[in-house]
Symmetry: C2
């Protein structure tokens, strides 16, 4: 028999009714969620009734009480009387169908599925709103860091104009390895894969799509922006080399995969890309799988949230915090916490930032003149040319830094440069986020 | 005529009814609150109806519409039909009476008054709960940083064991001046007073009572602890000298006023004191009037919140965010967000931390032996003795660092040492928070 006790006794909590929960997806996060629920069972009234997973037999554990139903059929969950479905399957389908049908059948949903919310958040929030259910997704961004509730509730009084952060621990680990171990990108990736920090197919992380999905969600909650994942410009970290860190250090910077969404004069820019950040900036100090989000408000200035961005237990904390919010929602029929209705705006890439462009060339006279000619023709001012000694002439790296220039000039300039036959490698461009963050 | 429009359209917001507001206290924060409300008037349904202040005539401004009532009598506010009273008077009385009577008369309250909530939070939350009203106080701690809502809602799923932070910008400015300008405490204080960072009577700040009140509130919200302000051990920063920074640097540290509340084996320690913190720790990097709070959870690990800890606009953001929460509360009769009922626990001072003790003596043979004898008799191990050259023998400073030892041994040892006639100044003791924060 499950004893039902009042909800967590922290101030701010109260829940009278018990709340039946089905967990769909019993992997690392799912099992951490259940362990957390049982560890705190004397403090809340959340009652696990179903665990659903493919080939569920291999998943069964003896520390879950026998009255919990194990199933591999989501129809069992949908047909049950559970109040909240916790979706931890990941991927777009069948997660999308499950969440849609759960909301349609009068259940609230908590999910940690960032791709689902980035792609279908608008539709699912509208559905939840129409059905009077709650749809919470705090675990989708920055793991255990309560940044979504912070932006939505804690900073509700401000008008936010930018969210910016380090949202992907895998990239952060790889970049740190390249920097500290002077290794190649391939070596750093292999090391991260061996250590379990990177997936066998790491494209989602290193090419920026994982962080891009999180940025879409941050922009929705913090900036009230309706973005499609495809509207986020994503540039891969895979071309970053150890020598880029050497040049970055000369500029007082290091390199991080930075995600930024910004509203400027009514237009939106949303970018995930490797970027030079000043060594003393909070972005530079993020280590390992830590995540950091900084919001900028018109009235309240810059607020930073940081902490563990991944891992079973931190993510489980976010899921259970969302569950407690769903409980409050259910005990207050009239509260519909996530209102749909974010606004679409024109996407612009005309942010003007100083740029770092690294070339590798087969050296011969006239290269700088040729490059300078192209930049000049596109009305882009060169700030400095940096060249470290000790490299072979057949594959000679050097860096040109550019004064702030809009993307609409930089892109065609770089396209023109790509035709030069002296290039031994594709040029790598990164913005320099000087003075962006104190 | 005031147009009433839907509440802020950020996801998560909705408010149908308009909400009448009285502001009591029209100083820096009050006027910033009103400016923010008017700047965003097309996005919410908050309607200012009363401004109350002593000698209100001198306060009148022409940018507030004529239908707003100006008064110096709180009875006008209490007798009105306002829904929410925003208390920005500061001080314990008559703020306490105003808030109590407002709640009794069926109004919700938003306050930025940390002393009020630290002293009377328990009583006022109970009263709000009994009357079905909300009492929000997010602006009491860390200005614009939404740490209270983050601990209460965003981290509801975790069991927090510690909150720690830099909560007083005045102390942070003074300590930074002593460090960077090699000035005396008195000079740094005078400079802060000239610059408007410190009050004419700075005791509340420098002796730790301001941070102590904030710590009481953080402990209530984050740790569900019922603390009285008098239960927080507060040690002043006034005895910190420039030479303490020199020694701290030798130990890889700097000095900050750190506030910590911790639950350990069912007992609580709550301390505000100048502390040595590693230079690479987040605490060391807090600059100026910035605030930082780090919570530690059993499941989710360490989460940091930082941003502007003071100032009219950041504090106004916190007040307006609380107002929006009050609106949601009123549109959902059954929601009673702040449940009273934090738990009292035994206070302990038996945290074991390594310590820094700085002496100034009239030099003569046998001093180290005498001090070592006392520490040894109290079973305290000396870690190192540090002495920088270049000081006069009549007033010779040096430092003894101690291995982790409980307060119940350190206090009597230092009391015994205080009797030595070779002391030229009271010894200064500070904990060394090595490895406390990554």
């Amino acid at each position: 028999m499950t004893t039902l006790l009042p909800c967590f006794e922290r101030p701010g909590y109260f829940a009278d009714a018990n709340c039946k929960i089905a967990l769909v997806g019993f992997g690392t996060v799912g099992s951490a969620v259940v362990r957390l629920l049982y560890a705190r069972s004397d403090e809340h009234s959340l009652q696990l009734t179903h665990v659903c997973n493919r080939r569920v037999a291999r998943k069964k554990v003896n520390w879950i009480p026998p009255e919990v139903m194990w199933t591999e059929d989501i129809e069992d969950v949908l047909a049950s009387d559970v109040d909240v479905v916790v979706e931890l399957m990941g991927g777009l389908e069948p997660a999308h169908e499950l969440v849609r049908r759960a909301l349609q059948s009068g259940k609230s949903v908590v999910t940690a599925n960032k791709q689902l919310i980035a792609h279908f958040g608008s539709e699912l929030l509208q559905l939840a709103w129409d059905r009077g259910q709650s749809l919470n997704f705090g675990a989708c961004v920055a793991g255990g860091v309560p940044v979504l509730s912070g932006l939505r509730d804690g900073l509700a009084g401000d008008r936010l104009t930018e969210v910016c952060g380090i949202l992907n621990g895998t990239c952060n680990c790889i970049l740190t390895s390249i920097e500290q171990g002077s290794m190649s990108f391939a070596e750093a990736l292999a090391e991260a894969q061996r250590a379990g920090f990177a997936e066998a197919d790491p494209a989602d992380d290193i090419d920026g799509f994982d962080a891009g999905a999180k940025l879409v969600i941050l922009a929705r909650v913090g900036l009230n922006l309706e973005l499609r994942p495809g509207q986020v410009t994503c540039r891969s970290i895979k071309n970053v080399r150890a020598l880029d860190f050497e040049y970055a250090h000369e500029l007082g910077c290091t390199i991080r995969q930075v995600s930024t969404a910004r509203i400027n004069q009514g237009k939106v820019s949303a970018v995930v890309e490797p970027s030079l950040v000043p060594k003393e900036s909070p972005l530079a100090r993020v280590s390992g799988s830590e995540n950091l989000v900084v919001s900028s408000g018109e009235f309240g200035g810059d607020i930073a949230f940081s902490g563990p961005g991944a891992g079973g237990n931190p993510t489980a904390v976010a899921v259970v915090s969302d569950l407690l919010q769903a409980v409050r929602h259910r005990s207050n029929g009239s509260e519909r916490p996530h209102r749909p209705g974010a606004v679409s705006r024109e996407i612009t890439s005309d942010l003007e930032l100083p740029q770092y462009v690294r070339f590798v060339v087969r050296d011969r006279p006239g290269i700088i003149a040729a490059l300078a000619g192209v930049f000049s023709a596109h009305h882009i001012n060169i700030d400095a040319v940096l060249q470290k000694p000790g490299y072979a002439k057949a594959e000679l790296p050097f860096v040109i830094t550019l004064e702030p220039c809009p993307e609409c000039r930089l892109t065609p300039a770089l396209a023109e440069i790509a035709n030069f036959d002296f290039l031994a490698d594709t040029p790598v461009r990164m913005p320099i986020l000087k003075q962006e963050l104190a």
